[in-house]
């Protein structure tokens, strides 16, 4: 049978996932010395690893061309729809936050507020829950700039340490959601290859506890 195929989010999540896989006994040399190869073998041909951008990890898993994926909860909240979210891997921790210019009273007044964000779906869901109408502007780069130059009243963005916010005179006024890396599985794969997936899930669960 074909080895299980796992899509990893390139960069930091990939590195930590590889460390985890090594910890539970899989040889990941090929992933660490990948060169230009895009599909890599792990262990004794136990798995194939594919490296992809975060949102693409979800796409590959949803379409079933990868059985499993490791991706941040931020990406799941923004892009996710139908797959199994099997495990909170506990690393890559950060939070979505609503931040505004220091001492700005965001909730006062009746005018519709404007939010700049890279995560329009997360932002929409957050304010829908509050039954609050907001104008959302999608920004691709440094979102912190938007309230400073007067484009928006606030931002919804990922906050790790908060130092970028502080350096630009912004402050968090509300936490939107907790984020960490998650193990996701294609729905059909989990049903068709239950034993293998559960075995890996169990090992990862034990080592991340």
């Amino acid at each position: 049978m074909k080895p299980l195929r796992i899509a990893l989010t390139k960069g930091r999540l990939e590195k930590t996932t590889v460390e985890l896989l090594e910890k539970i006994g899989y040889n990941c040399d090929e992933v660490k010395n990948k060169g230009r190869k895009l599909i890599l073998t792990v262990g004794n041909n136990d798995f194939e690893v594919v490296l992809a951008k975060a949102a693409d990890v979800i796409t590959y898993v949803e379409h079933g061309v990868c059985d499993l994926g490791v991706v941040g909860k931020d990406t799941i909240l923004e892009h996710g729809s139908s797959f199994y979210e099997l495990l909170d891997l506990g690393f890559g921790k950060c939070r979505f936050a609503l931040a505004v210019k220091k001492d700005f009273d965001f909730y006062s007044g009746y005018n519709t507020k404007t939010i700049a964000t890279k995560y329009p779906k997360v932002t929409r869901a957050f304010f829908d829950e509050k039954n609050m109408d907001v104008r959302i502007i999608k920004i691709e780069g440094s979102v912190e700039l938007a309230p400073l130059v007067g484009l928006s009243d606030g931002i919804v963005d990922i906050v790790e340490t908060g130092s970028t916010l502080k350096a630009n005179g912004l402050e968090v006024i509300e936490w939107v959601a907790d984020i960490s890396a998650r193990l996701i599985a294609n729905t059909a794969s989990l049903k068709l290859r239950k034993r293998e997936i559960e075995e890996l899930q169990k090992k990862l669960e034990d080592v991340t506890k």
């Binding site: 139908s82 979210e85 495990l87 794969s189 049903k191 068709l192 239950k194």
Partner: protein, 389 residues
């Protein structure tokens, strides 16, 4: 202004030659099973009133439907599902017939999926509905028909079986509103353990909460029943569980072994399911290709309360799979081209028919000269050209 003359809309596609042949093959095999078990075909309209699908239990979001209006301004949709129209049809046109009604359908459904996800917005479904009867015999009839249909199109599939009552019975007693229940259901459906745990941690601990917590992990073979029985003992879910075990026990006679699994976390979006529910997967297809179950409350929404069960197969997905496997033998070419010398066209057409009747694939050449016919045959790799003169 842009004219969209030469492309199809996103999510739609043309089916050509080998694709149609593969589709006919898949549909033919399934149809043979349905007819063999004496289900009768029906066709419902491609466009229906929006109201048919907007019932709260339909599980079809309004943004997922293609909408239009009729000439009186009433909202219409391109059929996004076949079960609801069939419920409408049975409750009106068939309400005085002798029950149960056994019917099958083969028709496209339309879903307006999010853009650029590569999903199909039009796909052919085949399915059955067994309406007007409840009980284990009806459930076994539906399930074994489903298995037989899967066997007709694949050697490598898996069926998973669950029961809508398990989750409903456990969650009914909890102090939660419909929104909260839906969040719990979604996290079970997505096997999202962390979300489920944080939702349940906010509730007063009790046996039902503990049982719900373990639902997504309760899938597998017969051993699931032992675990589940312990967890659900004394709760309202015990009865559904016992029934599911009976179904599972009966179906084991089919010899599916590991390919029949139990999933108590199978809580589908279609809220109309009330009894057993099931899905089927084929190796190599990333989504369920068959899904169905019992929906005893749905017909009441149309004013004709009666039990019913059925399923739908995504025959397009099965077709695409068989095409990519190369398991479809198909050739564009006839064995023989029959060319008529001027004035002998009707003889040649008769000769073509005669050859076809003998079982050779013959085609009457519609090109004006023998040279052109020969050149065409050479280009296409058609072995033989015969001339009638």
């Amino acid at each position: 202004m842009n004219q969209y003359l030469k492309v199809t809309p996103e999510g739609m596609k043309d089916f050509l030659f080998a694709e149609c042949s593969a589709m006919d093959d898949v549909c033919g095999r399934i149809e043979q099973v349905f007819r063999g078990r004496d289900f009768k075909r029906v066709i419902t309209p491609g466009i229906e009133f929006y109201d048919v699908f907007s019932l709260p239990c339909s599980g079809i979001a309004q943004e997922d439907m293609f909408k239009m209006t009729d000439n009186r301004g009433r909202l219409m949709v391109a059929r996004p599902d076949s079960t609801l129209p069939i419920a409408r049809m049975v409750s009106s046109r068939l309400k005085n017939s002798t029950l149960p009604v056994r019917l099958y359908y083969k028709q496209a459904v339309y879903r307006n999926n999010p853009t650029l996800t590569g999903r199909r917005n039009e796909f052919l479904q085949m399915g059955i509905e067994l309406v007007g009867v409840k009980g284990i015999r009806a459930d076994l009839e539906v399930l074994t028909t489903a298995v037989q249909a899967m066997q007709a199109v694949s050697h490598d599939f898996r069926i998973e079986l669950g029961h809508a009552e398990v989750f409903d019975a456990l969650s009914d007693g909890l102090p939660i509103d419909a929104d909260y229940k839906e969040k719990i259901r979604l996290s079970i459906e997505g096997k999202n353990y962390s979300a489920l745990n944080s939702l349940l941690d906010r509730l007063p601990p009790c046996q039902a909460v503990q049982a719900i917590r373990s639902l997504p992990s309760l899938f597998g073979g017969a051993e699931v029943f032992d675990k589940a029985a312990q967890i659900c003992r004394g709760t309202a879910a015990a009865e559904a569980l016992g029934y599911l075990q009976r179904l599972y026990g009966s179906l084991s006679a089919l010899g599916l072994g590991d390919d029949l699994i139990i999933d108590l976390g199978l809580v589908q979006r279609n809220d109309y399911y009330t009894g057993f529910v099931f899905s089927g997967y084929i190796n190599g297809i990333g989504d369920a290709v068959i899904s169905g179950g019992r929906y005893d409350e749905l017909l009441a929404e149309f004013g004709a309360p009666m039990g019913a069960a059925g399923f739908a197969i995504d025959t397009d997905a099965v077709t695409l799979k068989s095409l990519s496997d190369g398991s479809v033998s198909y050739s564009d070419n006839p064995d023989v081209l029959v060319f008529a010398a001027d004035g002998h066209e009707m003889e040649a057409i008769a000769e073509t028919a005669r050859l076809n009747a003998q079982g050779r694939r013959a085609r009457f050449s519609v090109l004006p000269t023998l040279e052109e016919t020969r050149r065409f045959a050479a280009e296409r790799g058609i072995a033989e050209v015969i001339t009638v003169e």
